[in-house]
Structure formats: structure tokens, C-alpha cells
């Protein structure tokens, strides 16, 4: 079987799709909509810091961030090529998309650890 990187990118895309589906809506609902609108109060800094102090929570958060970024990168790569007819620049678009995901992943890792 000829080696290609696509299956690994697809596994990251799929894993990220599951993570994004299961976790992101509730997080953006709470932190992005309900708390800023004042429907529910912001938790205290101490409470949220306590959650982040748990190394397992930070690790899980990093995994979710990396997977979701690769999910988004993969879809943005294909969608931009289909929408704008720029599939001939696939290598460049792939570098930009996955490169962006890697930058985000490193930022997250440096932030959390």
C-alpha cells in the first residue's frame, strides 16, 4: 500500500469532529453567550483556577484543543479548495491550514504547561 499522509489527517479530523461535537456547544453556550449576557453569573476565578489546577483537566483540554484545530484545518482546506476552485494549490493550502493548527496547538501547550 502506497504511503500517504491523508489517513492520519483524516483520523485527526474525525477525532476532532467528535470532540468538537460533544464538548464545544456547551462551552460556547456558557462562556460565550449566557455568562456575558448575565443570564448566569460568571464563576469565581478561584473556582475556575481550581478546575485548571488538575493536571488531568489541563491534559484533556489540550487534547481537545489540538483535535478541534486539526478538524477545522482539514475542513477549511477542502472547503476553500471546493468553493474557490484552488485545488491546484493544495500543498500550499494544506501547509497554511495544518500549520495554523500546529501554531494553535503549541500556543495551547505553552499556555497550559
Amino acid at each position: 500500500m502506497k504511503r500517504t499522509i491523508e489517513p492520519y489527517l483524516w483520523l485527526l479530523f474525525s477525532g476532532g469532529g467528535v470532540a468538537a461535537a460533544l464538548l464545544l456547544p456547551v462551552l460556547v453556550l456558557l462562556f460565550g453567550v449566557l455568562m456575558p449576557l448575565g443570564v448566569i453569573d460568571w464563576p469565581t476565578v478561584a473556582h475556575l483556577r481550581a478546575l485548571l489546577d488538575n493536571v488531568l483537566v489541563r491534559l484533556a483540554l489540550l487534547v481537545v484543543i489540538v483535535l478541534c484545530l486539526f478538524h477545522a484545518a482539514h475542513r477549511i482546506r477542502f472547503t476553500s479548495e471546493e468553493l474557490f476552485g484552488i485545488a491546484r494549490y493544495d500543498s500550499l493550502i494544506a501547509v497554511l491550514c495544518y500549520g495554523g493548527a500546529i501554531v494553535g496547538a503549541v500556543t495551547g501547550a505553552l499556555l497550559l504547561f
Binding site: M1, K2, T4, E6, P7, Y8, W10, L11, S14, F78, T79, E82, G85, A87
Partner: protein, 255 residues
């Protein structure tokens, strides 16, 4: 008024009603790009779009070209774009479109040879590229052994074997229409049909695990929706992705 008279009057009324077909014409040497030509054909409840086209060919304009054969959804040769949607014209009835008009164009995504006839050479090359036959190893001629299958073994691939090569799935697939190098729904489903057959000893992942094969698919799902035989090519492709991915991660595992 008795029943027979009513039926007769309905029939007469029906015979006088017509519906307009807007047919794409492309005559090489004459047209630089397709132009539409209108024909009025009788609108009767039991006429398919293909019957309307045959009426045009027989009575109105003998120069109109289109492919057809069985008139019963088995041969797969009468696929066209009907009001923007890829359909088998023998199974699409005129009455579906109310008072009309009905716009009939060749299948999208293929070069047009003439009028409604498209060039299928590339599609046929794609089909044969996946080695659509039972691959056996270590057997001497003559082949005399029978290989019985359980109902479960038949079930594993039967759905994918119903394809009639009508190419509606290619025409409905934006990935293929935008990039004709994509191996496409029917060929991948056919490869999976043999991969999932208990009698087959081949392995078609050399042709499936490619950017232009399963990895080109972005799961639009239109192939499955338009398939007149309920083959579900979209499912075949996603399963191909999963198998190819698992085998890339676990190189020692078989499917």
C-alpha cells in the same frame, strides 16, 4: 353518464394536454455550446420523460440524440439532468412536473458528445481500475470448486452489487464535477463490493488509499441520495476511509 364514458372523456382530455420539454441541443460543428430547443409533447399519466423524448425523436425532430435501452431502470443508460437533478429518465414521470416546462440536459460532469449523449470513456476506465472481479490466488485451471456463501456473507456486500453504472452519482457529486480525477462514488462502491466478498482474496486499497480516491471525498452524500438502486456509495467510501486509516495506523491488521 356511465363509467366508460367518463374514462373516455378523461382520456381525450389527457390526449389534448401537452407539456413543454426544454431540451439541451449540442451539435458539434454547428453549436459552439449547448442551446435549448422547446418541444411540446402529450402529457399523459403513464409517460416518463424518456417517452416524451422518444415522441420528439419519432414525430417532431429525428435529429435529437440520446441514449436509452431497457425502459425499466435496469440498463442505466438513460440518465440525464432533469430540472437540475440527475435522474433516470425512464423512471421520471412527466406528471411529476405539473404544467412544466421540464428542462432536460445531459448529465453534469461529463463531456458532451452530442445533445444528451455524454462521453463515458473516463468512467469506464475508472470502473476497471478497481479490478471489479473476484481475485483468487493459488488456483489451477480448470476452476471447478464451488464456493458457497452463507446469507450473512452475501449480505455483507449485496447492497453494493446492485449498481447499474448509470453515473447519476458522479453527476450529483460536486467533488467529481469540480475535479474529474476523483475516482468517484460508483467505482469505490464497486471496489468495496469485492473487498467485502468472502470469496475475494484481493486487496484494492492500493487504488482506494489515494488522495484522488477515498480521501478526495468530503461526504456531501448526494451520491447516495440520487442512486436509483439504493447502493449507498457514500457509506462505502466512509467505510473505505475508516479501513484505510486503521490499516495505516495498524499496518499488521487486515480489514
Amino acid at each position: 353518464m356511465d363509467v366508460t364514458d367518463t374514462e373516455e372523456s378523461v382520456r381525450q382530455a389527457a390526449a389534448t394536454r401537452t407539456i413543454r420539454l426544454e431540451v439541451a441541443r449540442y451539435r458539434p460543428g454547428q453549436d459552439s455550446e449547448p442551446v435549448f430547443q422547446d418541444y411540446d409533447v402529450p402529457l399523459t399519466a403513464d409517460w416518463a420523460v424518456l417517452d416524451g423524448l422518444n415522441y420528439v425523436k419519432d414525430r417532431l425532430d429525428g435529429s435529437l440524440s440520446f441514449r436509452w435501452s431497457c425502459r425499466m431502470g435496469v440498463c442505466g443508460s438513460c440518465g440525464m439532468t432533469v430540472n437540475g437533478e440527475p435522474r433516470l429518465t425512464c423512471g421520471t414521470f412527466l406528471t411529476e412536473y405539473g404544467d412544466g416546462p421540464i428542462r432536460i440536459e445531459p448529465l453534469k460532469g461529463f463531456p458532451v458528445i452530442r445533445d444528451l449523449v455524454v462521453d463515458i470513456d473516463d468512467f469506464l476506465a475508472k470502473l476497471s481500475s478497481v479490478r471489479p472481479w473476484l481475485i483468487r490466488e493459488g488456483e489451477e485451471l480448470p476452476l471447478t470448486t464451488e464456493y458457497a456463501q452463507t446469507p450473512e456473507q452475501l449480505d455483507a456486500y449485496k447492497q453494493y452489487s446492485m449498481c447499474i453504472n448509470c453515473m447519476l452519482c458522479y453527476s450529483a457529486c460536486p467533488v467529481y464535477v469540480l475535479n474529474p480525477d476523483f475516482l468517484g462514488p460508483a467505482a469505490i462502491a464497486l471496489a468495496q463490493r469485492y473487498n467485502l466478498d468472502s470469496r475475494d482474496m484481493g486487496d484494492r486499497f492500493d487504488v482506494l488509499n489515494l488522495e484522488e480516491a477515498v480521501w478526495g471525498c468530503t461526504f456531501v452524500g448526494e451520491c447516495t441520495r440520487v442512486c436509483p438502486k439504493h447502493v449507498d456509495p457514500a457509506e462505502a467510501i466512509q467505510r473505505g476511509k475508516l479501513t484505510a486509516a486503521l490499516r495505516s495506523v495498524l499496518p499488521w491488521s487486515k480489514r
